[in-house]
Subunit: 327 residues, 4 copies
């Protein structure tokens, strides 16, 4: 096995708060262990174009608290082609890079697996996405920050909802996963939470809202995941309720992309720091095709393939807590 | 002239951060000067229904930092009728209320003027609205907080915009006034700002965005006021740019109602405290039909009628600064 | 075994963000399961004085996002006496209370154990303290929020530190436990972290600071836990470094009690909601002398005695990560 | 008069949030008007050492929201000597710099005046300091942000104060000026405010605290300016009250340097943008020895000498409001 002297790091896919903290950690761990470190701009796109930058311990000063990613991110179509991946491999060889850390989500890891199969190039994945929808880690980098961002925004919305006795439908991110909706919903004290994993049925929601008003609640928040399975988007949901519960004054708010940005929470910074170190240590140890993650507050590693294919499921106990809280 | 022994306070129209601080100030000033104070729930609606509550100095403990309004707010159709106002006057008489402080915006003050003309009832207005669109005060209560909320949200959006080299259209509040858009736009370093008071023309915007990219900006934020006069809403604007500047990856974010909530800024709390005291002092001094406000950092009063009819105009110097900043 | 029809809840010891969310959860769970709920003011002090209040599902509206505790908290000397505990039991009997939920830390749980031994009164503990120093749960309520508060404050301090090339000693809370210092230190990118559990020795710190400057860091943050074992307090530490490293311009900042307040993070609100439900379910199920907690993201219960006596230990892996990050 | 082709900008003295926004504005205004721009590191110290950097419109991207100053700041002893200033002038000549913008406070402006007298070198001052103690502007850059930082910290402290029925002495910045203390005190709802400009006398404070407890306030906050004239520091004050009002449980919190950092408020960003443009326009217009500032929400300029010598006075009306609020 070849000794690892130079490691590349990239951020790929949707950006998430804490990606910079992860980059910093990879760079500092390389410096600590005497390896060189190279940053790749714009994920696989920059890899194909050879858009690289040398990173020293000092070049990542004062980025741990910054949202976004200094390496920028992108989704690359070209990397899905054989030609694209061939160019990518040429660039890695030419720059004498021996291993690569990919910070991203499902899609980015799928690319990594294919690339490794073709070129036997050592790759370690770090789960960075606000959606928390990756198997093999209890938390992805950015998820905790996105929850706080969503909850703080909903707190503000509740101020005006309760001043005007209104019902708000608030859409949070999460196309396929209801983690943000369920946790932010419980955290914000939402009266109802609609997630992709469960189809409560609209009738149940109407019942629940009626009851809520009867028991003296004068304002209400319904948190809806982007990918809710009711078959209606958040504006249609609002209209449906307005038509069926005319006593409610209904408004809609889509939190949108602000959930992807902002200074990362302490949790995400610490998580990113831990996973960054581990990813470098695994590469230096001759490992590949693994994703680092958190389990029971310990750093673990999982096969990337498993991370991609393994399912995640919503916490049933938390669903139950959510029900009880709306008593 | 009748001595003022009991003063009522209400919040009316769209809620704004700092309304609670204003209520607290009215209540404490009444206590200080030995007058009784009564809170009216839900603005003119509660006035008509006699939904009152006695307020002592202690009943407004720990509300100065809370968003929303403990007295709740509403827009009342009934108060626009003679019958509604007659009921309102009956309730005031019955409760031996001698004067009233109305915290709200244009619409609320219009109601106050009519009521005063019919019943010669002493009323002082406090400008509370996030839109800052009221003549007779340099700042309305809630405006400064809304600016900070908008700017913090746009900062987060910029994180993800610049990670992905995207162009974002961000809609902020302000149906008839571009104050929030212009100031939050300059504060957030927006590349373009579209406001109701000015019609830049879409061509100019396209030119400016092209130039911005040529000079090396890889991401951009366009801040759009709700009431922008381009004739297109924010989604249409985004689509228009996408069609004409295909090199841009365009996204939209509507900040929405979160701009109405949240803990008020220090500025809004101090402003509310000062205006609340002044409103009570004016009533006790036998004044009526005035709106208190801030001018050159001093508390002043203006005839409410003037406050309603007087125009506000956008700061041309700031428009110019905004242009220069996008160099 | 007696059926549980009425449950009391109190907050005791140092307050922590999320205590209100826990109270709300206990109250709502009682309502959900058809039990009555009574709040006890000021912990054991209020228990002895019979300072009780009936709590319904609606009386805990809009408190999930509030710092502090609506039931207030205290440390009671009288409860340490047999007489005090006798009065406490009388009050519980008189009010027909069948079980009690105590939200607090070590000290509060010790009182609970003694009381239970003497009166066989059913008690469940919920760990609420910012220090995270309780065995039987991976996270105590308030800890995550305190970390974010500390990190946000240190971020601000770093702005000025790096503008002036200064060295700051920042003291964070944690009398016996370095959890806050270690995690906030890693999260804030501190150059050194001094905690009660480890005595690095002052020489090592001097060496490290010298090296840090040599490698081009122009400003530095040293995070110190209140209970650091170097034998010096934070001011003495600063003076010591100033004398030995005259090239450094040294400043001190003690974050203090602000770490106990503030709106709880989403994590703390969700944790509090889950633990509150579980505590009520355990009481209704005839259990006693247990503390609810989180383990591997699942709600568990531990014997309160174990929770008090069981040791907690600092995460060695995180200490190592901290070292690597200062490369 | 010589044409101005190249302008230098520095930040000097204590740093303040918004300094980066001011630098950005100066740089962009230079670019807009076709002048070159040079940044000077570490204020007059870097000027003497010739520590310069060329600044283009793009080199100040994404700094408007950052605390601290990218040009760093310092207090220079050498600039107080004739030799130091001679070196400074040499460096300016050598680099063909025609005018200079100094962002700072009193001390920095005094240096500017002397330098201008000796070398007739065009200088414009921008008031950047959190203390707001400069004549010729209603607001200095950084002041509004520092107020919000202080108020948010005191809000957190009030959470724990009111949970434990405690009295907190909170020290805020302001060595010679009570602006922060008075405004943050009113904004945070403090029971007492002690400032350098007024000596209330300790007896009056005791009386007021006694009364406050009698009227049912269970917790209290006293805000103290660093430079309070009672002759006691905040710890001595706390001890004095503890001895004289044993019924109070007293704590102290010194907010410290965090007040200097953090992302600037919208107000400070807009103010900095406006003043930066004006400073460049004045230089290009052949003006010198002026400080730009804000008056009645308009940008004005004042002789720097006046700005230094002119007194500022505390707002008596606000003092009165503060009294009334503690009713």
């Amino acid at each position: 096995m070849k000794e690892i002297k130079k490691i590349a790091v990239m951020t790929s896919g949707g950006d998430a708060p804490g990606m910079n903290a992860a980059i910093r950690s990879v760079v500092r761990a390389c410096a600590y262990y005497g390896a060189n470190c190279v940053g790749i701009y714009r994920g696989y796109e920059g890899l194909i174009e050879g858009d690289f930058i040398e990173l020293t311990a000092r070049s990542v000063n004062n980025i741990i608290n910054k949202g976004g990613t200094i390496l920028k991110s992108a989704r690359s179509k070209e990397f899905r082609t054989k030609e694209g991946r061939a160019k990518a491999f040429e660039n890695l060889k030419e720059n004498e890079i021996d291993g690569m850390v990919v910070i991203g989500g499902d899609g980015s890891f799928t690319g990594a697996v294919i690339f490794n199969e073709e070129y036997n190039f050592p790759i370690i994945g770090i789960p960075g996405t606000i959606d928390n929808d990756i198997f093999g880690t209890s938390h992805t980098i950015g998820y905790d920050t996105a929850l706080n961002t969503a909850v703080e925004a909903i707190d503000k919305i509740r101020d005006t909802a309760s001043s005007h006795n209104r019902l708000f439908f608030v859409e949070v991110m999460g196309r396929d996963a209801g983690f943000i909706a369920l946790n932010a919903g419980v955290g914000a004290g939402a009266e109802e939470i609609l997630i992709p994993e469960e189809n409560l049925g609209l009738d149940r929601m109407l019942e629940s809202l009626k009851k809520s008003r009867r028991t003296g609640k004068s304002s209400s928040i319904v948190v809806v995941a982007e990918g809710d399975k009711s078959g209606k988007n958040v504006y249609e949901l609002a209209k449906y309720v307005e038509e069926n519960l005319p006593e409610y004054d209904v408004r809609v708010s889509v939190l949108g992309h602000m959930q992807r940005g902002g200074s990362p929470s302490c949790f995400d910074r610490v998580l990113a720091s831990r996973l960054g170190v581990k990813s470098v240590e695994l590469l230096l140890d001759g490992q590949t095709n693994l994703m680092v993650g958190l389990n029971n507050n310990e750093v673990i590693s999982t096969s990337i393939k498993e991370a991609i294919t393994g399912g995640h499921s919503i916490n049933q106990e938390l669903l139950r807590v959510s029900d009880i809280m709306t008593t």
